[in-house]
Amino acid sequence: MTSLARWALVALGALGLVTFPYWSGPWESSRFATTVIRDALVLAIFALSLDLLVGRAGMPSLGHAAFFGAGAYAAGIAGQRLATDQLPVTLGAAAAVAALLALVIGVLVVRSEGIFFLMLTLALAQIVFAIAFQWTAVTGGSNGLSGVGRPMLATLDFSAPDLMYVLVAGTFVLTALVLWGLGRSPFGRALMGVRENERRMRALGYDTTRLRLSAFVIAGTMAGVAGALSAYSTRFVSAQDAGLGNSVRAFVTVLVGGAGTLAGPMAGAGLVSVIERVVPSLLPPDLRIAEAILGIVFIVFVLFARQGLVGLGVARYASLRARRR
């Protein structure tokens, strides 16, 4: 397939995705599928941002939800405190707060690697969560922040379900594009070098600490945007948005889908959403073990399919091609 044809296909797919509510109307009047896909896309954006760290730069962060939560809270709080609903303001606040938090935490964690890095990100993010949980005056504490404003762009009200979906899907396509570009840029290549052999990169003249910090801040900012979108769609921010469970969820999504690829986090988001949404409806109502099932699926992947769904797909494709020769 030529490059142009491939691009055309991707563009078509993206267009179809963004306009989903409009062409699915006839068989989707309850808007259930729209909501499910919308939430899956928010997860996908979150997971894509984490993959920049985990997959690209080799920085396994288990505290990524801190930025998701920070963005969510910032969007809500900015809207309320500044008495505005304008999207540029609230989304901008979300990105700025998330970026700042990522810078602060990043400076502390970026000099460590591997398991130690994982633990540090986990511990620091948990502290952010605890602050969100206890700072009732600002964040609403354990009750969460309700009444998140409608995202408006001038007079365009994005809180209508169809438009909210478009906002999310559009952001998703944009995020994927940005990450695609980043991946093939010298910056992305340098991150990959840091992942493969940091010692060597240093010997080649790369300031690896600064590179990792940059990746950390970019990833954190994107996560903040995802958090803001989540706040807009549910009109509510819970402290759990910044909690370990959310960080784990994103990590599971990335790994199960396939770290280091663009399609991986997307596939992972799809699978996780299916498990979380569909499985409970298949089980008797008093058997609520969707999380346990997710945990088992995760364990299976870590043990037997470390490269995730995309990895499995690639391996399958390669063996099929080999057999054909």
Binding site: G114, F116, T136, A292
Partner: protein, 291 residues
């Protein structure tokens, strides 16, 4: 704050520190030996508390629970290690990821089996009163916790330094591969270590229950969060690190909550940040940070 109040809070801080030690020592031990940060440690802690709940419900004896919970957790740890972790020998990051999965499963199953409401466990009879202390009254149980924590630390220290198994563990912490090359059955040793870590977490769950209650979310707060903070601050992989971390974090957190209330955890953040900036391996840590 009056002098009596300060004294009371100091005792609170110490009892919290003692609990933290029981909790964090297991995490530190497993890491020191196997280079694995058991992220299911909080889930083990939680399971210990819920098991204690059931044991007390059935038998009425807190002391029995204190025996049973670590035992069950120990068996669980002993069974889990070969089943899951051994396959991933050498892939430390993947082992850590695996423990995440285990944590998800355990926590969800706890909710399914025991329900998701807040529960409580009262201190055992005999320890549930208060005694008069410097101007006020103070719960006896918390004093017991301090004493128990200290005693456990002493016992662990003795075992660690003066027994054969302690020597094996110390050697394993230094260089497990070498130990294997010398003919020691490292598989058994690892399984035993992991089981001990789990048992300690379970024990912490029981001992902490009358003080901190039993509820969903306890696997992360206080469970995993505080164990991690303690070992990050005190130093990963060493017993003395766990002690140092607990002694620092316990009182700091307690006073922080009293003085700063809502943003008490910012105090912890500040301590963690300070330690990380000054000494990334923690105060008495063993592992090295990339430079």
């Amino acid at each position: 704050m009056s002098l009596e109040q300060i004294f009371q809070q100091a005792l609170n801080g110490l009892s919290f520190g003692a609990l933290l030690f029981i909790l964090a020592s297991g995490l530190s031990l497993v890491f020191g030996m196997m280079d694995v940060v058991n992220l299911a440690h909080g889930a083990f802690y939680m399971l210990g508390a819920y098991i204690a709940l059931s044991v007390v419900q059935v038998s009425g004896s807190f002391w029995l629970a204190m025996l049973a919970a670590p035992l069950v957790l120990g068996v669980l740890g002993f069974a889990l290690e070969p089943f899951l972790l051994r396959r991933l020998r050498g892939r430390h990051l993947d082992q850590v990821l695996l423990t995440i999965g285990v944590s998800l499963v355990i926590v969800d199953l706890i909710g399914q089996l025991w329900g998701r409401e807040v529960r409580s466990l009262s201190a055992p009879g005999g320890l549930d009163g208060s005694i008069a202390l410097i101007g006020g009254v103070y719960p006896v149980y918390r004093l017991f916790v301090i004493a128990f924590g200290v005693a456990l630390a002493v016992v662990m220290g003795v075992v660690y330094r003066r027994t054969k198994i302690g020597m094996l563990i110390r050697a394993g912490v230094q260089d497990a591969e070498m130990l294997g090359a010398l003919g020691v059955d490292t598989n058994r040793l690892f399984a035993l270590t992991f089981a001990t870590g789990a048992a300690l977490a379970g024990l912490a769950g029981v001992v902490a229950a009358p003080v901190f209650g039993i509820q969903p979310g306890m696997d992360t707060d206080p469970g995993l969060l505080y164990s991690l903070v303690v070992v990050v601050v005190g130093g990963l992989g060493t017993l003395s690190g766990a002690v140092a971390g607990s002694v620092l974090v316990g009182p700091a957190d307690t006073f922080g909550k009293v003085l700063f209330q809502d943003v008490a955890l910012a105090v912890i953040f500040a301590i963690v940040a300070l330690v990380l900036l000054l000494k990334p391996t923690g105060l008495l840590g063993r592992i090295r940070v990339a430079r």
